[in-house]
Symmetry: C2
Subunit: 429 residues, 2 copies
């Protein structure tokens, strides 16, 4: 039996879905007993040349041609953005259609509304492609690992910043040059702020943390720091310390109290996350029974994202075939308290710009002494123009104690700047 | 509603299942609407002290007390080995019970028989824990990635050999010493042959390849080489070449022709698999749409394996709740041809023991020249007692050409031994 699909949007991901569905139509029919077929594709411009083969009759600029077509059982949303995607998706759900989406912004901001609408309408909403591209993350967290209390998530979930930081590490380039290269290759957008300021990673973390910790995480619960201030000097010091700099998203659940953070960190070179290069993504998950797990793969791109979308479409087809559509949705458990700051002691890196004067180092050391923070490593480089650079790595220190010390350092007349305070990751157990 | 579970075996994994089920009973009831309870546990010795709390009435030495108990809906098998596990499992299936197993040997050797019996009886058989311990592998391959044509599997799927090779790399120990340490810590068995000769990895590869490549792979289709012949010298040379030695399981599907191999290989230090240490496992999967993916985590142990077992139990409960038990089994597609040898050109490492005589190197070089194999790296170390060691890394060479050259080398009077011919992995794309 054929199952008609409506596709909202035919950009990079949508075109991948059209191509992959054509490639695998027979196999999917064999596996599920149902043959998916793309009936209508909503596009902005009917005449734009496309890389994929679609009949002129399949294209439309009118959303109602999909949403009001009773023949269409599944709507695949690859438009991105909040509106009109949200309105179309809710309309599809209310019309009894199952929805598969790759839209992380929409799920992060309006996921609860959409999932509740789906439950009320008895339809499936699947969004494996919204986080981590091709990497199976959503279903492992909601299915395979449900016997675990998940305590930690940590990962690289933004490909643009990872490409930029990888370039800076490999070539010694400064942030601006690496960003310009990423833009020229299409890995970063003209306005790169959503990526480089950490917002994209924060949205994905909110989705992952909601599922892993069985609660509702709001975007504003995530403490976010971007990578604009990372310099070639930081990258070089990190290298000297046996580390690379990565933008990490991390979430912790400590007995129902959550802490959620996106920001740059030093990762030791023998840590598996240190080797996640370029546009790849990786997520560490720690469960009380499973221990440490890592999932790694392409976090974006046309066919990788389409792989996750089509995996979801196949699951929707299986549920249709078994007659259990809309009945597998997980419940959302009560909100947990989100802590203001990460509260576990960690090692910290910081780079100070210091006046090259006698007594400067003694003044700095005394601030650390008063705050009861011990230093693990100190690197002091030759001064230029009366300025010295001092890089300090502390022993494990509670974040509030460090914040207090940083205030003290900033108040010192010798200290001209405290740059890039970043946690230093420990090796996984 | 309560669902009674019968547990076959209460060793390391079984005890983990008892503990984890007790920890998560309430959460599972909340998620699935069904409350799992362990009713009976089959053990060999009723009086053995156990780490987990079981009432005396829960233990039995009589398998019929589980298998003939109509109240028991799910049988969890953690005995290991072929018999009597196979007989009990088939009896449970025929009695209409769902089965969750961690038994890789049984699934690798009798998986088809068991899955066909399950299909006939309309029950679920799940075996996520049989490969990769806590790591979700079976379901990603059979569900999330089904829109892909999977072309390559490559990974570290035996923790014992990985522990031994990691020790050899970190301490410079020889194989025998590293094995003895692994045995004293309980990571290797008194008779270590199933692990160190590669058979355990071969069984797991047969299971993974059957699922990934949608065919039936027999154990005898897997070409197997163990790690007994790896010396501290090989480990040191690998280090000099920027590599570590790992026991890799690899499977390839090239347009329906399979090649399946377990054996030691040189892995570049910046390859993600190089950083899989100790008892951890990792599997690379390449799909035509998804690209490269990696799954990493604890490959064995009580709670990690129990995490996978309980994930399967929860899935069985969901199917029970939805009334779709036994209906989600994937079809097995026709057999594919298994190639005799890996057939793609790769770089090879070899260590030659050579008489320290004039003309020896020229003779070796001429064999390579005649076979049209070019050398990428040559390391020759100072001779002792008239013997020199020559390590050669070739450029990418078809395996049959290399086998021919090795024959030629063995025939040379100068060459006393050709040790440990191993492929050198390329970096992932």
């Amino acid at each position: 039996m054929n199952v008609a699909i409506g596709l909202l949007g035919c950009g990079t991901v949508g075109a991948g879905v059209v191509e992959l569905l054509a490639r695998r139509q027979d196999k999917i029919a064999e596996l599920t007993g149902l043959r998916p077929e793309i009936k209508k594709v909503l596009v902005r411009d009917l005449d734009k040349p496309r890389a994929v083969a679609l009949a002129p009759g399949q294209l439309t600029q009118n959303p109602d041609e999909l949403l009001a077509d009773e023949d269409i059982r599944i709507v695949v949303e690859t438009m991105g953005g909040i509106e009109p995607a949200r309105t179309y998706m809710l309309a599809a759900i209310q019309a009894g259609k199952h929805v598969v989406t790759a839209n992380k912004d929409l799920i992060a901001l309006h996921g609860l509304e959409i999932l509740e609408a789906a439950r009320a309408a008895g339809v499936d909403v699947m969004y494996e492609a919204a986080v981590g591209g091709a990497i199976p993350l959503i279903r492992p967290l909601t299915e395979h690992l449900t016997a675990n209390e998940i305590t930690d998530l940590k990962g690289i979930i933004n490909g643009t910043t990872n490409y930029i930081l990888t370039k800076m590490t490999e070539t010694g380039a400064d942030f601006a040059d690496a960003l310009a290269e990423a833009q020229s290759l299409g890995y970063a957008e003209a306005d790169p702020s959503s990526d480089v300021d950490g917002l994209d990673a924060a949205r994905k973390l909110a989705i992952l943390a909601s599922l892993a910790f069985c609660t509702r995480v709001r975007l504003e619960d995530v403490h976010v720091q971007g990578i604009r201030s990372i310099t070639a000097a930081d990258v070089a010091y990190a290298d000297e310390l046996g580390c690379v700099i990565k933008l990490l998203a991390s979430g912790r659940d400590r007995h129902g109290v959550l802490s959620l953070h996106v920001g740059p960190a030093l990762v030791p070179k023998h840590h598996p996350l240190a080797h996640v290069s370029g546009s790849f993504n990786a997520l560490f998950v720690r469960g009380d029974a499973a221990g440490d797990l890592m999932f790694y793969g392409r976090g974006a791109g046309s066919l990788p994202t389409a792989s996750a979308v089509m995996g979801d479409v196949i699951e929707v087809l299986r549920s249709l075939r078994l007659g259990v559509s809309g009945r597998a949705t997980r419940m959302i458990l009560p909100d947990k308290r989100v802590a203001a700051l990460p509260d576990e002691p960690v090692r910290f890196y910081m780079r100070l710009t210091v006046a090259d004067q006698p007594g400067a180092f003694a003044a700095i050391a005394s601030i650390f002494g008063v705050s009861n923070i011990s230093m693990e490593t100190v690197l002091q480089k030759r001064a230029k123009r009366g300025q010295a650079e001092v890089v300090i790595v502390t022993h494990a220190t509670p974040p509030h104690a460090l914040a207090h010390a940083v205030e003290g350092l900033r108040a010192l007349p010798h200290v001209q700047a405290v740059n890039n305070v970043m946690p230093v990751e420990e090796d996984p157990a």
